[in-house]
């Protein structure tokens, strides 16, 4: 990511959040995140919005289709139009990413990637892990679960800033560190 582009995208995100922040709740967090990831990994979607010789009506329809596809609220149409007007539509994935960060910051939420050695069989266990992390951090926990057989057995909760792990692999790692 270009640093200057990042700063500009952050400014767009902050401005959007200042105006439409009340519409972005913790429930829409996952939608924003998946939309950001989708656009980041498939940037060709935005290519059609950069074409100049398209009627405004068609363009609005394209935006609506995109919003429906990404399950984003209609308020995002304003953001997309503004970015198109400024010829910075390519910044949309970054803006969405910053909105995700802002949403976490505003709602005091932390996104954790929780890796387990085996698939968790019931939701009660997941809730228990999330409650545990909530008690540790004092923040709302947004969790996404992955399977990691390298752990051998146990759980790893990894955030942008924090790591909590209790697994056989971590024990092995600490033993290795103390011996070698």
């Amino acid at each position: 990511m270009n640093v200057n582009q990042g700063i500009i995208a952050q400014k767009y995100a902050r401005a959007f959040y200042n105006v439409y922040g009340h519409e972005i709740t913790l429930d829409s967090f996952w939608i924003l995140r998946s939309a950001g990831s989708y656009l980041r990994y498939i940037p060709g979607v935005l290519f059609f919005l950069t074409l100049v010789d398209i009627d405004n009506k068609v363009r609005e329809e394209m935006i609506n289709v995109l919003l429906t596809k990404l399950k984003l609220p209609l308020s995002f149409a304003r953001l997309i139009q503004l970015l198109m007007l400024h010829r910075r539509i390519f910044l949309l994935p970054m803006v969405l990413q910053f909105l995700v960060d802002l949403c976490q910051e505003q709602h005091k939420a932390l996104l954790f990637t929780i890796s387990t050695s085996e698939q968790l069989k019931n939701d009660a266990d997941k809730h228990e892990i999330e409650r545990f992390l909530h008690r540790l951090s004092g923040c709302h926990i947004l969790a996404e679960y992955t399977l990691d057989t390298n752990l051998i057995a146990g759980v790893r909760a990894l955030n942008k800033n924090y790591l909590w792990e209790y697994s056989i692999e971590s024990k092995m790692w600490s033993i290795t560190n103390s011996l070698v």
């Binding site: 387990t116 050695s117 085996e118 968790l120 266990d125 228990e128 892990i129 409650r131 545990f132 008690r135 051998i152 057995a153 146990g154 759980v155 209790y166 056989i168 092995m172 033993i175 290795t176 011996l179 070698v180």
Partner: protein, 163 residues
Amino acid sequence: MYDTTVILFWIFRWLNIIAILLVAAYFFRKKLLHAIKDKIAQRRNFFQSLYQQLEKTVLKNVSINKSIDVQQQDSAQLLKKAEQWSHAVAIVQREYEEVYEQRLKKMIRYREEQLEHFAMQQACKDIVPIALKDAKATLKKKFEKSEVQTKYMNDLISFMKKN
């Protein structure tokens, strides 16, 4: 009685003797006395100069003796200082040797520790990875069983509940 001729003989004889003595004295005084006086004066001067030389030599001897005494005192002081210095040097050398020995012992101890550490590290390098690999394989095998895995997770979740 006495014969006049005899008397006269004796008178003249004595007069002759006196005259000869006077001539001899005159001759002695005129010719030899001056030379003898000069000779005596020369001798006296010679002896005087000898005496002066002797005096000078005595004085010189005295001053030499004095300087010898001074030099002996100086040398005694120097010897004393040299002894003190050698004593101080011996102390310093002993201290230095002690320090050197301590340092040497320390270095030897450090070297031994290093060797031990190196041996330990070598052992760690050779043995630990194998042991860890074996342990990991054993643990993987153990936790492959579903019930063990589930028990571990359940224990972990109950730990989370309690804390």
